[in-house]
């Protein structure tokens, strides 16, 4: 299947792409900062999730649930918790 038909990319198009790429970089930085700010809430959500999968269960497949024993619950590693990569 043809993905792209060979064509010349004009200077105007290159300039447009450059500008959009720069704006995307800024957008990405903003997202990272916003997600950093969400950390305290996220820690609470994670704690609630780890509690729920022990009491109600973890969705193994569709609505099939497995209650996870306490011994299997992962421990938070020392490294920084990142969600945007």
């Amino acid at each position: 299947m043809v993905k792209v038909i060979e064509h010349k990319v004009s200077r105007e198009v290159k300039a447009w792409l450059k500008k959009e790429a720069a704006e995307q970089k800024e957008r990405y930085k903003k997202i990272v900062a916003e997600q950093e700010a969400l950390s305290p809430k996220r820690d609470k959500w994670v704690a609630d999730f780890l509690e729920r999968i022990q009491s109600r269960g973890f969705n193994v497949h569709a609505d099939m649930l497995r209650k996870i024993p306490a011994a299997e619950i992962p421990k938070k590693p020392r490294r920084r918790f990142k969600v945007v990569f």
Binding site: M1, I5, V13, Q24, Q35, R42, I53, V60, D63
Partner: protein
């Protein structure tokens, strides 16, 4: 770098900009959702002004369009909300008008947006692949057929499926009070836009109407919840498999390693065969008879962008296209 991880992004927070790329008619505005900085491939929310007219034309790359509000019309048909187009490169579309304006999602998969006026197909166009469907009126909701599956209450309508890569575009919904307590990641990149409704993910919080993400492979997302229901459009760039787990802190590298290990458990023969035959210094890439024919393995390695050597055992490389020598014109 291809597209960065854009998640979450809400397009309601930004204004439309005039589309100024050459070829596009006046009256088209856009919000950039994500952009592949190498190829120019991108996803945009677009708005056509009242009275917008687009002459017959084609694009150099494939283009997907999904109408969210308003309508587009040609001489023969009116395309209302839910209308979805997948237009292969070089396939010309008739003149389209938006007498009362229209808002849509627009995706270019392999190159920058382009529009060239033309009332016929390009010689390389594959018109038989042109897909036009109204997802709201012509299709029914089905449960997801991926195993392991999402919890009940997440339904899909598959709009396009690429047989080669298994990439697909789909409308999905979450019913009110949907929840799914697991963390997922995929081997593919995944993208979605909320047409209506708010859903929640443990990593990113609420994603409201106008919410969007482009998520590269192996990034954790979930648990999931949705109070009042959500309607969204999703896309992947290859096969979607739900790798579920419950460790909130794993990294994409750890997830990828696990996926490879799982592949070894699921398809040990195939995995070992790839490892043995695709190992270092063997310019061999698995050949798909349906797509690659009985071709030269070296040429197939090129086609797939796989690093390889030329039999000298120490010369690993990917080819960069050599600049063509200019022939001097002889003056008579």
């Amino acid at each position: 770098m291809a597209r960065p991880h854009i998640e979450p992004f809400v397009d309601r927070d930004v204004s439309f900009k005039k589309m100024t790329l050459p070829g596009f008619p006046k009256g088209m505005h856009y919000k950039m959702l994500s952009l592949d900085t190498d190829t120019g491939a991108c996803s945009m929310t677009v708005m056509y002004e009242n009275g917008y007219v687009q002459p017959p034309g084609m694009s150099y790359a494939d283009m997907e369009l999904f109408i969210m509000s308003g309508y587009l019309e040609s001489d023969e048909k009116r395309y209302t909300p839910g209308s979805y187009f997948w237009v292969p490169p070089g396939v010309h579309m008739p003149a389209l008008r938006a007498p009362r304006g229209c808002v849509a999602l627009m995706f270019y998969n392999y190159a920058e947006p382009s529009f060239v006026e033309s009332d016929s197909d390009h010689q390389l166009a594959e018109r038989d692949n042109l897909t036009i469907v109204n997802a709201y009126e012509d299709m029914h909701w089905t449960s997801t057929n991926f195993f392991p599956a999402t919890a009940s209450g997440c339904l899909v309508k598959v709009l396009r499926f690429d047989q080669r890569t298994q990439a697909f575009t789909f409308l999905y919904c979450m019913t009110p009070n949907f929840w799914q307590d697991n963390i997922s990641y995929h081997d593919c990149a995944e993208e979605a836009y909320h047409i209506w409704g708010t859903s929640w993910m443990m990593q990113f919080g609420n994603l409201p109407t106008g919410g969007y993400f482009w998520r590269p492979p192996y990034i954790n997302h979930g648990a999931f919840a949705c109070k009042l229901g959500t309607l969204a459009l999703g896309r992947t760039d290859s096969q979607l498999y739900n790798h579920f787990h419950f460790n909130p802190w794993t990294t994409p590298e750890e997830n990828r390693e696990r996926a490879a290990s799982r592949m070894l458990a699921w398809k040990p023969e195939l995995y070992r065969w790839i490892e043995q035959h695709g190992g270092h210094n063997h310019p061999h890439v698995p050949n798909d008879f349906e797509y690659d024919g009985q071709g030269d393995p070296h040429a197939i390695a090129h086609a797939h962008g796989v690093p390889h050597d030329h039999g000298d055992g120490h010369h690993h490389h990917e080819h960069e296209e050599k600049p063509k020598r200019r022939r001097r014109r002889r003056s008579n």
